[in-house]
Protein backbone atom coordinates (compact mmCIF):
# COMPACT_ATOMS: atom_id res chain seq x y z
CA UNK A 1 0.00 0.00 0.00
CA UNK A 2 1.11 3.55 -0.76
CA UNK A 3 2.46 5.34 2.30
CA UNK A 4 -0.15 7.99 2.95
CA UNK A 5 -1.54 8.97 6.34
CA UNK A 6 -4.30 11.40 7.20
CA UNK A 7 -4.77 12.96 10.61
CA UNK A 8 -6.94 13.23 12.53
CA UNK A 9 -9.24 10.38 11.45
CA UNK A 10 -12.25 11.94 13.15
CA UNK A 11 -12.90 15.46 14.36
CA UNK A 12 -15.86 17.30 15.79
CA UNK A 13 -15.62 21.07 15.91
CA UNK A 14 -17.87 24.06 16.39
CA UNK A 15 -18.96 26.56 13.77
CA UNK A 16 -16.51 29.41 13.41
CA UNK A 17 -13.43 27.60 14.68
CA UNK A 18 -10.34 27.02 12.53
CA UNK A 19 -9.51 23.44 11.57
CA UNK A 20 -6.42 21.97 9.94
CA UNK A 21 -6.27 18.51 8.40
CA UNK A 22 -2.94 16.91 7.64
CA UNK A 23 -1.90 14.57 4.86
CA UNK A 24 1.52 12.93 5.12
CA UNK A 25 3.18 10.74 2.48
CA UNK A 26 6.34 8.67 2.46
CA UNK A 27 6.38 8.00 -1.30
CA UNK A 28 8.08 11.24 -2.39
CA UNK A 29 5.27 11.77 -4.92
CA UNK A 30 5.00 15.11 -6.65
CA UNK A 31 1.22 15.46 -6.74
CA UNK A 32 -1.10 15.68 -3.73
CA UNK A 33 -4.85 16.29 -3.68
CA UNK A 34 -7.64 17.08 -1.25
CA UNK A 35 -11.16 15.83 -2.05
CA UNK A 36 -14.36 15.96 -0.08
CA UNK A 37 -17.04 13.29 -0.31
CA UNK A 38 -20.70 13.92 0.34
CA UNK A 39 -23.74 11.76 -0.44
CA UNK A 40 -25.00 12.44 -3.93
CA UNK A 41 -21.95 14.46 -4.95
CA UNK A 42 -19.21 11.88 -5.29
CA UNK A 43 -15.64 13.05 -4.83
CA UNK A 44 -15.10 16.76 -5.36
CA UNK A 45 -11.66 18.30 -5.70
CA UNK A 46 -10.89 21.08 -3.21
CA UNK A 47 -7.25 21.93 -3.89
CA UNK A 48 -4.25 20.13 -5.27
CA UNK A 49 -0.48 20.54 -5.33
CA UNK A 50 2.00 19.82 -8.10
CA UNK A 51 5.10 20.54 -6.04
CA UNK A 52 6.41 22.23 -2.92
CA UNK A 53 4.67 25.61 -2.57
CA UNK A 54 2.83 24.98 -5.86
CA UNK A 55 -0.90 24.65 -5.36
CA UNK A 56 -4.07 25.31 -7.33
CA UNK A 57 -7.80 25.45 -6.78
CA UNK A 58 -10.20 22.65 -7.53
CA UNK A 59 -13.97 22.59 -7.97
CA UNK A 60 -15.01 23.57 -4.45
CA UNK A 61 -12.18 25.67 -3.01
CA UNK A 62 -14.18 28.46 -1.34
CA UNK A 63 -13.66 28.44 2.43
CA UNK A 64 -10.53 26.27 2.20
CA UNK A 65 -6.82 27.03 1.99
CA UNK A 66 -3.84 24.71 1.61
CA UNK A 67 -0.13 24.74 2.17
CA UNK A 68 2.71 22.50 1.13
CA UNK A 69 6.06 23.51 2.60
CA UNK A 70 7.58 20.02 2.31
CA UNK A 71 7.14 17.28 -0.28
CA UNK A 72 5.67 14.92 2.30
CA UNK A 73 3.03 17.16 3.90
CA UNK A 74 -0.10 18.78 2.46
CA UNK A 75 -2.28 20.71 4.90
CA UNK A 76 -5.92 21.65 4.40
CA UNK A 77 -7.23 24.52 6.53
CA UNK A 78 -10.77 25.64 7.16
CA UNK A 79 -10.28 29.17 8.43
CA UNK A 80 -13.74 29.38 9.98
CA UNK A 81 -15.60 26.09 9.82
CA UNK A 82 -19.26 26.04 8.75
CA UNK A 83 -21.84 23.26 8.96
CA UNK A 84 -21.73 22.91 5.15
CA UNK A 85 -18.14 21.72 5.53
CA UNK A 86 -19.24 18.64 7.45
CA UNK A 87 -17.92 15.89 5.19
CA UNK A 88 -15.43 13.10 4.71
CA UNK A 89 -12.14 14.46 3.45
CA UNK A 90 -9.76 12.31 1.41
CA UNK A 91 -6.18 13.08 0.59
CA UNK A 92 -4.62 11.41 -2.45
CA UNK A 93 -1.11 11.22 -3.87
CA UNK A 94 0.14 10.55 -7.35
CA UNK A 95 3.47 10.05 -9.01
CA UNK A 96 4.50 11.49 -12.36
CA UNK A 97 3.28 10.27 -15.73
CA UNK A 98 0.10 8.30 -16.13
CA UNK A 99 0.04 6.91 -12.62
CA UNK A 100 -3.03 6.33 -10.44
CA UNK A 101 -4.21 8.16 -7.35
CA UNK A 102 -3.60 6.49 -4.01
CA UNK A 103 -6.03 7.62 -1.35
CA UNK A 104 -5.60 8.01 2.37
CA UNK A 105 -8.15 6.51 4.76
CA UNK A 106 -10.07 9.75 5.09
CA UNK A 107 -10.95 12.22 7.84
CA UNK A 108 -14.54 12.47 9.01
CA UNK A 109 -15.18 16.08 10.01
CA UNK A 110 -18.34 17.18 11.78
CA UNK A 111 -19.04 20.87 12.27
CA UNK A 112 -21.75 21.51 14.87
Amino acid sequence: DAGITQSPRHKVTETGTPVTLRCHQTENHRYMYWYRQDPGHGLRLIHYSYGVKDTDKGEVSDGYSVSRSKTEDFLLTLESATSSQTSVYFCAIRGTGTSPLHFGNGTRLTVT
Binding site: L43, R94, T98
Partner: protein, 112 residues
Protein backbone atom coordinates in the same frame (compact mmCIF):
# COMPACT_ATOMS: atom_id res chain seq x y z
CA UNK B 1 -16.69 20.12 -15.08
CA UNK B 2 -17.78 16.85 -13.54
CA UNK B 3 -18.05 13.86 -15.88
CA UNK B 4 -21.49 12.24 -15.98
CA UNK B 5 -21.85 8.64 -14.87
CA UNK B 6 -24.71 6.31 -15.66
CA UNK B 7 -26.55 4.51 -14.30
CA UNK B 8 -26.63 6.01 -10.81
CA UNK B 9 -27.27 2.62 -9.28
CA UNK B 10 -27.68 -0.96 -10.40
CA UNK B 11 -28.66 -4.20 -8.69
CA UNK B 12 -27.53 -7.50 -10.15
CA UNK B 13 -27.53 -11.14 -9.23
CA UNK B 14 -24.21 -12.90 -8.92
CA UNK B 15 -22.98 -13.99 -12.33
CA UNK B 16 -24.71 -11.24 -14.31
CA UNK B 17 -22.89 -8.59 -16.33
CA UNK B 18 -22.86 -4.83 -15.81
CA UNK B 19 -21.77 -1.80 -17.78
CA UNK B 20 -21.04 1.59 -16.21
CA UNK B 21 -20.64 4.62 -18.43
CA UNK B 22 -18.73 7.86 -18.01
CA UNK B 23 -19.00 10.80 -20.38
CA UNK B 24 -17.47 14.24 -20.54
CA UNK B 25 -18.24 17.42 -22.46
CA UNK B 26 -14.52 18.19 -22.66
CA UNK B 27 -11.70 16.55 -24.59
CA UNK B 28 -10.12 13.94 -22.37
CA UNK B 29 -6.52 12.88 -21.97
CA UNK B 30 -7.21 10.00 -19.61
CA UNK B 31 -9.94 8.25 -17.69
CA UNK B 32 -9.40 6.60 -14.31
CA UNK B 33 -11.69 4.02 -12.69
CA UNK B 34 -11.90 3.41 -8.93
CA UNK B 35 -14.05 1.26 -6.66
CA UNK B 36 -15.03 2.22 -3.14
CA UNK B 37 -16.42 -0.11 -0.51
CA UNK B 38 -18.61 1.35 2.22
CA UNK B 39 -16.52 3.12 4.86
CA UNK B 40 -13.28 2.68 2.95
CA UNK B 41 -11.11 4.73 0.62
CA UNK B 42 -11.45 4.47 -3.16
CA UNK B 43 -9.17 1.87 -4.74
CA UNK B 44 -7.65 2.13 -8.20
CA UNK B 45 -8.88 -0.24 -10.93
CA UNK B 46 -7.39 1.03 -14.19
CA UNK B 47 -6.36 4.02 -16.30
CA UNK B 48 -7.17 4.49 -19.98
CA UNK B 49 -5.37 6.97 -22.18
CA UNK B 50 -6.72 8.65 -25.27
CA UNK B 51 -6.18 6.45 -28.25
CA UNK B 52 -9.20 4.24 -27.64
CA UNK B 53 -7.39 1.43 -25.91
CA UNK B 54 -9.21 -1.19 -23.96
CA UNK B 55 -7.82 -2.60 -20.76
CA UNK B 56 -8.67 -5.66 -18.78
CA UNK B 57 -8.30 -6.72 -15.19
CA UNK B 58 -9.55 -10.29 -14.64
CA UNK B 59 -13.29 -10.00 -15.31
CA UNK B 60 -13.28 -6.21 -15.23
CA UNK B 61 -12.36 -4.32 -18.38
CA UNK B 62 -12.85 -0.84 -19.77
CA UNK B 63 -12.82 1.05 -23.03
CA UNK B 64 -12.26 4.68 -23.98
CA UNK B 65 -13.91 6.23 -27.02
CA UNK B 66 -11.85 9.32 -27.71
CA UNK B 67 -14.21 10.70 -30.36
CA UNK B 68 -17.20 10.59 -28.03
CA UNK B 69 -15.22 11.43 -24.85
CA UNK B 70 -16.78 8.40 -23.23
CA UNK B 71 -15.50 5.49 -21.23
CA UNK B 72 -17.28 2.33 -20.20
CA UNK B 73 -16.43 -0.12 -17.43
CA UNK B 74 -17.48 -3.74 -18.02
CA UNK B 75 -17.98 -6.18 -15.17
CA UNK B 76 -18.39 -9.73 -16.44
CA UNK B 77 -19.92 -12.57 -14.43
CA UNK B 78 -20.15 -10.33 -11.39
CA UNK B 79 -19.08 -11.60 -7.98
CA UNK B 80 -20.30 -10.54 -4.56
CA UNK B 81 -16.97 -8.77 -4.04
CA UNK B 82 -17.77 -6.40 -6.91
CA UNK B 83 -20.35 -4.57 -4.79
CA UNK B 84 -19.47 -0.98 -4.08
CA UNK B 85 -19.49 2.45 -5.66
CA UNK B 86 -17.59 2.96 -8.88
CA UNK B 87 -16.11 6.32 -9.81
CA UNK B 88 -14.63 7.55 -13.02
CA UNK B 89 -12.07 10.33 -12.85
CA UNK B 90 -11.06 12.39 -15.85
CA UNK B 91 -8.08 14.45 -16.94
CA UNK B 92 -8.84 16.92 -19.71
CA UNK B 93 -6.68 17.34 -22.74
CA UNK B 94 -6.70 21.11 -22.66
CA UNK B 95 -4.27 21.84 -19.90
CA UNK B 96 -2.85 18.52 -18.78
CA UNK B 97 -2.61 20.19 -15.44
CA UNK B 98 -2.93 16.92 -13.58
CA UNK B 99 -6.25 17.83 -12.05
CA UNK B 100 -8.47 14.76 -11.81
CA UNK B 101 -12.22 15.37 -11.59
CA UNK B 102 -14.58 12.60 -10.55
CA UNK B 103 -18.15 11.76 -11.45
CA UNK B 104 -20.83 11.27 -8.81
CA UNK B 105 -20.41 7.53 -8.81
CA UNK B 106 -22.43 4.43 -9.66
CA UNK B 107 -23.60 2.20 -6.79
CA UNK B 108 -23.43 -1.48 -7.66
CA UNK B 109 -25.10 -4.07 -5.46
CA UNK B 110 -24.64 -7.77 -6.18
CA UNK B 111 -27.20 -10.19 -4.77
CA UNK B 112 -26.32 -13.85 -4.10
Amino acid sequence: QQPVQSPQAVILREGEDAVINCSSSKALYSVHWYRQKHGEAPVFLMILLKGGEQKGHEKISASFNEKKQQSSLYLTASQLSYSGTYFCGTETDMNRDDKIIFGKGTRLHILP
